[in-house]
Structure formats: structure tokens, C-alpha cells
Subunit: 343 residues, 4 copies
């Protein structure tokens, strides 16, 4: 019996059927490469509609690149990037950000993956001192790596604090759609409207095959981006195939439908998990992920059937992820498995 | 009237229908991310079959990355990489190789894009001298950026020369399939069997949507590759979709059929061009590209209808590229256009 | 009245007269550049005598370079370097280490600037996981930035722990002489003999004009050093002038005399400070630095006369540094000033 | 008998006695570190007097750093730096420039080490094309690595050409003093007044122990320099000792006296060499270096007595360098040796 990998990551789900159709549709005839094609022009227009007429957006292959290239474009190598200790940027990118930006990542411990001005302030040392990395940008993840979501007020507060201190704000939005859906609002309301400067807008975890957008909410920040993208090995030749996916993603709100489904499934999973003895929720469920503590001997047993991640720093905490194609049936299977073990 | 872009690049063609089918086939259910999936394991097995049991292969998104990450894995930042002045690596990667490897690119002028030991030798200076970049690896392109192809004997000679001088040999094989077809031989015969150490094995220009393989012919060279790939922003989460394309590419020799067609079309194009007055072939046609000199005033006229590249250093030389889905009809259209202008 | 800067840094003292003599002595006739001269050969011999016949040593201009180049030589860009949160390496090098090594600095909070295996262990995550920086080397400072000194047993314990986990140990020895003197032992006893792998051996803070040594306790680790030194802008042309200083430093134990004096002065300063009301020692005095808490309004007054550093994260803590040419008279002046303020 | 190394490099000479005196003078009492001291403030004032009130100057340890940090401050990693194929920057810095700037060095062959607009123009390709390194700055060496010197008109022409093409001009002035003396003019006349933007102003080859200045002729270009200097391991703690040397260098024109002597000795050497059969001058003598072709078997014999460099690409060409403390007697010794061999 092979392991069930469904709950390990939203990267384990495949491609949404409508996205696959869009790929097939785009495969007609010749199309100019490197971004001058009509698919890309259209996708950029749609993104401008979503994120405001002063924004500019660019496609890259994956989230690692979206974060690193967005940050590189607005920093110099003597700057520091402030982020939560739990940020993907610092934990799971194999020094990629340090390597390509040269910057120091100043990592700030949090309870729930969410930064606040009060948490950040003590890290704003050394401005103007040539011996010290110069704080330049705050990077937050929305929704966070711990499945929590910043409220609009929290976002505004961080952006206000940042700008008062001459800092920019970057959002790792690999799960931005899940956040917007949780907050019952649009994508612009939680980025442009609260004061975000640079955004990684994720597609892959929400039903695309590959492709993410780097969005500069103020396009004047984007001047060097295309050179860094090329140099950073992220300029795709047949760009129409990323753009066609984004066209489908943004038309008729496919991003919203997919994220809504994933979030709903996470709520259902949460509700069911709460009813199992010995299992404890460790973070609020505000997106498509559920973090629960499972006694270690039970954990061992359930992981023989289901493959999912546990926290590196605490192997008794499981991360369970839902995606656009999770089903109640699948969740019930996991719940049944857990009930048999935990009872 | 929009421009005809067919002959500008093999990146302008789309995805081969069988590859598109493979993508749809792979989109079933959940699949573990980052390369542990069955599609990837199968593709790696196929590549081992092609390039020898001592080889190891890895997927990246594009050719820029295949070259840079392959080279990075076997160099240190004080090394130099020797390549032709016309190499894509030095001309069209926006300092990406310098940026990620730190190495100097020692560029060597050639007539036809092909290096020889005699051309390389004067550049082997300063070995052991800490003031000078240390020559470490020769990078050749097969087929070259000028549409020419190294013979098996030429490849052997370069590899022998390299190894005698403690150098490695890298092949930028964005068009390796075209070379194999031109030489009427297999992929292994022009890489492993002649002594190549590291290879970028191209797929995108030959019918894939995206995806290239970095092949270490001796897998002991590959020890650090996966860390550099992750750090270099090139680890794809839903890897099954690159792997599925390569599975199709290698099964039943789709790579060969596609390259054969592209090469044949280039031959046909060459034959027809030769019959047009004022137009002169400037390189041998040994792959899927034809380089011709067209008087500048004729050039201006033809480029109003057809979009293609001319040499930066000589705008009277056109590069015309054929691909897996070029048609005689299309070529006849170009030829007719040229005849009307040049007569 | 200009500020008294004596206690701000051991970099504020000048050059020991015997070192100045050595510089004058070395200024005779022509001497081959870049390290082939007799002064350098002699200094390297002396260093081999001090640190063992299997060691190899190289000169650089300053401590920043000694640390960064020593670490670069034994790491790859996907590695992480573990150090105390208070380490100069991470706090006061303006991202230099990240920039030149590409590595992540994993910073570990401590009470007194000293790491222990127990503190380090939780940071050894992700070994073999391509998503995560790979722990490669522990960097400790001896004596620490907080004026404390690792005992020989503590050093042994860290080195044993490191090697058991396939990690190396680096020592930032900008104040190694002060540590040796405090521990009443030799330089080899606290480096080679406890298991250290790479050392920055400081001279400038202890009476030299400029110049530090990078010491590889096992010379097989040093293979690439000279290339990185040149590339890192640290190969001095007239090397005899660094070497001559080190010859003087090591002959007749000038390093020891200077450090002994500095440590004794710090002890005297500590004793006197203890007798002043409202002033509290915050770290043990185990080298040439004294850290004391001074009520903020007193602090403000004393800093009008004396220039010294306070902790960025706590401006009520003063760092007072003694050096080879501190005098009791000078210290008495500071103490008098403080007494007038604090009484 | 040990080899005579006098003619191998101006780095083989020691420190001018007056510079040594200045070092001793500066070694009095305490002095604030990292550049806030009175010696540095005074040296910066003197440099402003020399290079104009709109300039700003900074000290680094060596010429490698002066070039790399000056260039880094005004470039981004997707830029290219245009220089002669013979430039120290590209030949003898072990990829340091590539490593720290990320830029491509576009190297242009010359006859005599001197670039001209006509030579540079063909290398200005690809502006605005994201696939190609973006030309940003022309770096020339004055006097050149081949002992030749740009005239004021030639300098003006290059600067005009550069600025017309939105390029900056950098001067590697390791031997700028020799050029000024040869042209019988001042330092400002061949930098600020002709339109140079960034300058490495060399001291070490002309009588200092260590230390060079990076001069931004327009100080608005210097905004990031101090951060890159610190990050680039080039901020010296006891800066007064570089500054004191420059104070002496610039007061009473010591730079001029030293360079005049070196140039005169080179003229004398040239005159004497011309009279030896079989020896042929290969470059004009316009600074302190003489390049001569010596038949290879004679070369072998003379190098048994005298240590000097020959060209890597042509071992029959010797580079003979004079310095501030060369003597006619010494030159006569070399000439006698050559005469014995060549007759």
C-alpha cells in the first residue's frame, strides 16, 4: 500500500481542469517568446485591473524566485530583510535569498507566524552605522506558514510602521488567495489598499501547473526587475504558457473558487479533528492549513498511512494542508484513520 | 497585418501534441512534490538508459538555469570558464553565469562558433597563479549558436585536450537533438562516449512546454547539484509535469522525430534560399538554423512582413530557425516574400 | 575640550613601539611582493611553531577579512554558519559574511556570548534536506564580544560536539591573546589542542598597526585560501610589512605582554568600578573588557567627557575596553569622573 | 647569490622615508577608529583640494579593492564594464571584479593598452535588451599596464564618448602620479577636468606602505560606498595610519617627486637598453615601465640574475619597472648584465 500524500502540501494536488484547458487553448500556432505575446499582454492587463493601474506585474516560474527577485529588485547587498523566524524565506530556501540578494535576513520569533510593529521594533538597530546591515524591508507571509491570516487592520499597521521608518513591505503571497477568501475581501484590498510595496502572488499552490507573479504595487520600483529576472534564470521562453494559466486564474475568479474550496475543506477538517481525543489544535485555522498536536506514538502510527509534514522543531505537531481538489471523502478517510489510532 | 514570427526562434513554436497529452495524463490525483514522484523516477531512469548507468540527471525550468547550475556545481568562484565569443552563455544571459558562479568567462573568437584545441590553448594562462582566474572548464555549444555542429572527432579532440590540461568539458545542448540527428547518431555517442562531463540537455526548443535536464555523465560530479538547484530558484514543486514531458520525449524517440523534422526543414529552406539572387549563406547548415546575408535594403523590406533576428554585430545577417512544426508551406511563403523583394 | 576616546575600543590605541621598530627595520631595500619575501617566510615558520606543524597560516589586512575568508574557504554557499547572536560576525560586518560566502548565519541567543552544545543543538535542523541551509561550521569568539572567555573544557566540549555532527569549528580570535593570558595558557592549547579547525588570529587590537592571520590548524583545509584571498581583495603587495609585525609579535612573546597588560588594566578598572554606587557589572571580566550598567541619566553625563560604546539593545550598558597602552592614571581619570557623577 | 628583484615591480620597493616618518608621527596617543580621526579628516580635506570641492574620497587597503569597490558603487549586477584586454582588472584580479560586482567584463583588444571610442563602439551592443549585460562604465588604466599614457585629449575624447552613450568613466590610477608627471600636469587636470567619474588613486606603488584612495569626482555617486567598503572587508580600524601616509604624500608634492624620479629612471633605462643589440622596445616609455623584447635564449640567461616579469602571452617580452628608489647604479648593473649576454 502506497502512502496517501494528499494532506502533505497544496503542491501535491495537480492542475485545475480549466487551467489545463487554457494550456491546450494557448498551444496554437506560433507565438513570440519572452513575453511579447498576446497571452502575456492580456494577463498583465488583468493583473493591472486587479492590483491597480499604477502596478506592474511579471511572471516567474516559482515562489522561491518570486520572493527572491522581488526582494532583490528593491534592496542592495548591505540591507537587511526583516521576517518572522517561521518565514519560508528564511527556513526553506536553502540560503537562496542570502545568495542572490547578499542581504542579511533578520529573523524575529513569533507565536503564530505574524509580525507586529512591537515585535519588529527592537530589530531596527544600526540605521546609518556602516558596521551594521541596514534594515530596508519587512517581509510578511499572507496567509502565514502557520495557517494564520493578518487582518486588514494588522496589515495597515505594519505598513504604516514600515513607511514611518523608511522601510518597504513585501508580501509572500504564495497563499494570498486563501487570505483574501478568509477575510471575505479582494486581492487589492489586502495589498495595494493597505500599503504593500512588493508582492509575490502565488498560483501554483492554488491550481496552476507552474508560474507565479511578482507584483510591484508602485511600478516605479520595478525598473530593474526584468534584468534581475533574466540574470536570475527565471525568464521563460514560451511565456504564453504561464500567462494563459493566469488569464484563466483571474477570469471568472477561478482563484477565488479554488481558495474557497481549500479553506472550506480546512474548516471541515478542523471541525472533525476537534472531536478526536488527544488531538489538539495549535494554531487558528484561517486559511487552508490545520496544525495539530498529536501524541508522538499516535503520530508514528498515522504517518504509516498518511504522508504529511511535522514541524522540524516539534515533531509532535502535524501540518495538514487542503487544496482546491480536496474532498470530504478524503478528509473522512484521514479522520477515520486518526480515530482508530487515538481512541 | 501582424508579423509572421515563425522563423525567429524555435521557442516560438508551441508544444508538441504528444507532449501536451503527456501533461494531461500526468494530471491525475495527488503526487508527491519536489521530485519523489513516479514520473520523475521514471524519467531519471530513462535518462540513465540514454546517457549511461554512471550518469545522473536533474530537471530545471530552462536552459539558462541548466547551463549556470551545471557549471556552478563543478566550479569555484576563482575559476574561469572558456567558451566561444558567440556562446549563448556569454552573449545572452545578462551576466547570469558571472553572477551565480563568480567565475570569469574567457571568451574565444571563432569563425563558425566551434572551438578547437588550437584556439583554446592561448587562453590557458596563469594556472596556479593566485592573481589569475584558474581555467577549469571548457563550455561548447552543440549544435552551436551559428547552426554548425561539432563532429564526433572534433568532440573527442576537445575532450582529450581538456582532460590532459585538467579541465572539464561542458556542453550547452539546447539543440543537442539537432546535432545527434545531423550526425546520424545517438545522444550518448556525442556526450558520454566522447568524454563530456556535464551536459545541458534541452527540451523546450524541441517541442516541450518547459523543462531541461542537467546531466552529469559521471554522477560523482553531481554531489552538490540539488542544493544549488534549490538555492538557484530552480526546484519545481510539481515536478511531475516536467518529468512527464521528458518521459514522452524519450519514449519512442520523439526527440529524434522532432529534431529530424526541424533539420529537414532547415535543409529545404537552405536549398530554396540558395536560388535567390543577392542572398548568401554565411554558415554551413548543420542543424535547424540558416544564416544568410541579405543586402540591407532588402532586409528592411522583408522584416516588415517576417519577424526574425539579425546578428547584433552585423545586421545584414539573418538567423532563420526551423522547428518541429515548421511546414514547407510556411517556408514557401518566406521564400516567395524574399523572391519578390530580391528580384 | 575634546572627548577622551581611550576606553571606546582597543582599536583606538596605536602601534606598540617595538612593532613600529620592526616596520622600520623591514623597510630596507627591495623585497619580493605578495608573500615570497623572507619576512613572510619567517613569520609563517613562527606561526607553524605556535600552532603546530600541520597548520598553515596566511596574512590578511583586518579581522573582517580573516573571519570571512577563513569561513569561505571551508564552506559552500548552501551551508549555514552557527554563531552567537552577539557575534561580531553577524552584528557588525554589514552582511559581509552573507555577501562573500552566500551562507546563512544561524544566530543563537546566549546570556554571556558563549555557545554550548545544548544551545546549539536545536539549530541543527534539516541536514540533507535540500530546502534548508546545511549546517557546516560553528563560529565562536574567544574572548567573546562580551568580555567572557571559554574555558579549555568548554572549548573541548564544543569541538567534540561539532565533530560528532560533522561540523567544523571556527574561532574568531580577534582577542585570542587576551583569552590565552586569562586562561594562563598558550595559544596552541586553546586552539589546536582542543580541536579547533580554523582560526582568525588577531593582531591589530593587541598592538599591531594592521594585519591578522588566518590559521588553518589542519593545512589540508587551506587548499583554496590563497585564491579566495586574492579574489577577496586581501592580498597585500608589500606583505613584508604585515609579516614583520607578526615576527615581532611572536618573538619574545610580545603578544602575551600586551594582552597581559590589557587584561590587568581591565581587572583594575573592574575593581574600581565595583566601588562606585549605582554601577553594576553585567558580565564577568575575563579579558580586556568591562561591561557595566550605569543609570541612564548618569550615563548621559559621563559620555559628555568620555567616548565609549553602549549596547545597541540596551543603552544603559557601557562597554569599556582596555588595551596594551592603557594606564592606571587614565583609568583613575575615568573613575573620578564617574564618582563625581554617581555620588 | 640571490636574485635581484628591483625591476620586477614597483611593489618591491619599500616605503619612502618621509612616509615612514609620518607613520611614526601618527603613532601618538589614542585616536578614534574607522575614520573619524583628525588624520583622516585632514587627508580627506587635502584630497578635496586636489580633486575639487565636489569630490569625495575614501581610503581602502589596496588597489584591487579600490577598483572593485569604486566600480561596485556605481554598477548593478546586470551591467557590463568595458576595459582593455590588458587591464589589470580583468587579467590579474582572480575574478574579484566579477565576484563582487556580478558584472561582466567586456574586454577589448588594444595595441598599447589604450582604449579609444572607435575601439569601444562595437562593444556597445544590446542596450535595453534584457538578455544582454548592459554597458554601464568604461574602465581605463592611467598610466596603462603597458607603460603608456593617455594624453589629455584622448582622455577627454573617451569621457565625451562615454557620457554621450550614458556610460561612466572609471580610471584605475595605480600609476596616476606617473601619468601626471609624464604629461607635466596636475592630478585634477587628468581626472576631474577631463570628465572622469570614479578614480582609484594609487599610493602603494609610489612609496606608501599600504593604502589607496577611491575618489568620486562627483560625490553624489558615493552614497553607498561606505557600506560596500565595510561589507567588502576594506574598512580599516586604525585608519589614521593610512591617512597619515596620504597627508605626507599630498603635502609638498611627495607624490610628484617620487613619480618624477621613477619616470626619469625609466627614461634612463630605455636610453641604455636601446643601445644594446638584439633588444627591442615594444611600447613607448611614457611612465615608469619599459617593455622590451629579448631573444628567448638571452632572456633565459638574464633571468638567472634578475627576477622580473615577462608577458604571459609572449615570454620574450620583459617588463622592467622603476620606482621612487631606483638608482642609476642599479640600472647600470642590469644594463651591464644584459650587455654581457647580448653581445
Amino acid at each position: 500500500m502506497s502512502l496517501d500524500v494528499e494532506f502533505a502540501s497544496d503542491n501535491h494536488s495537480g492542475v485545475h481542469p480549466e487551467v489545463m484547458n487554457a494550456l491546450m487553448e494557448a498551444n496554437k500556432g506560433y507565438s513570440i517568446s519572452y513575453g511579447e505575446d498576446e497571452y502575456t499582454l492580456s494577463a498583465k492587463r488583468l493583473l493591472r485591473k486587479v492590483f491597480g493601474s499604477n502596478s506592474d506585474s511579471f511572471f516567474v516560474y516559482n515562489g522561491t524566485a518570486a520572493n527572491i527577485l522581488g526582494l532583490k529588485t528593491v534592496t542592495k547587498s548591505f540591507h537587511s530583510i526583516l521576517c518572522a523566524s517561521s518565514a519560508h524565506l528564511t527556513v526553506h530556501e536553502c540560503c537562496g535569498p542570502e545568495r542572490f540578494t547578499g542581504c542579511k535576513l533578520s529573523t524575529i520569533p513569533t507565536e503564530d507566524g505574524k509580525l507586529t510593529p512591537a515585535l519588529i521594533e527592537p530589530y531596527l538597530m544600526g540605521m546609518g552605522d556602516v558596521h551594521m546591515a541596514q534594515p530596508k524591508i519587512i517581509s510578511i507571509t499572507q496567509s502565514t506558514e502557520l495557517g494564520t491570516t493578518y487582518t486588514i487592520d494588522e496589515l495597515k499597521e505594519i505598513c504604516r510602521f514600515a513607511h514611518q521608518n523608511n522601510l518597504l513591505v513585501h508580501v509572500d503571497g504564495a497563499r494570498l488567495c486563501n487570505a483574501a477568501v478568509y477575510l471575505r475581501t479582494g486581492l487589492k484590498e489586502i495589498t495595494k489598499d493597505v500599503g504593500v510595496d512588493v508582492l509575490s502572488f502565488g498560483g501554483t499552490k492554488n491550481g496552476l501547473m507552474y508560474g507565479e507573479a511578482v507584483v510591484f504595487l508602485d511600478k516605479s520600483l520595478a525598473a530593474d526587475f526584468e534584468f534581475y529576472r533574466k540574470q536570475g534564470m527565471q525568464l521563460t521562453s514560451k511565456m504564453r504558457f504561464i500567462s494563459a494559466q493566469f488569464n484563466m486564474f483571474l477570469q471568472d475568479d477561478l482563484w477565488k473558487k479554488n481558495a474557497e474550496h481549500a479553506n472550506q475543506m480546512a474548516c471541515y477538517l478542523e471541525k472533525e479533528l476537534k472531536m478526536i481525543p488527544h488531538i489538539k489544535l495549535v494554531q487558528k485555522v484561517e486559511a487552508n492549513m490545520v496544525f495539530v498536536r498529536i501524541p508522538l506514538d499516535y503520530m508514528k502510527k498515522i504517518r504509516k498511512k498518511f504522508y504529511f509534514h511535522v514541524l522540524e522543531q516539534d515533531p509532535s505537531v502535524a501540518r495538514l494542508v487542503c487544496s482546491f481538489n480536496s474532498t470530504k471523502q478524503h478528509i473522512d478517510g484521514l479522520i477515520d484513520g486518526l480515530k482508530q489510532i487515538c481512541d
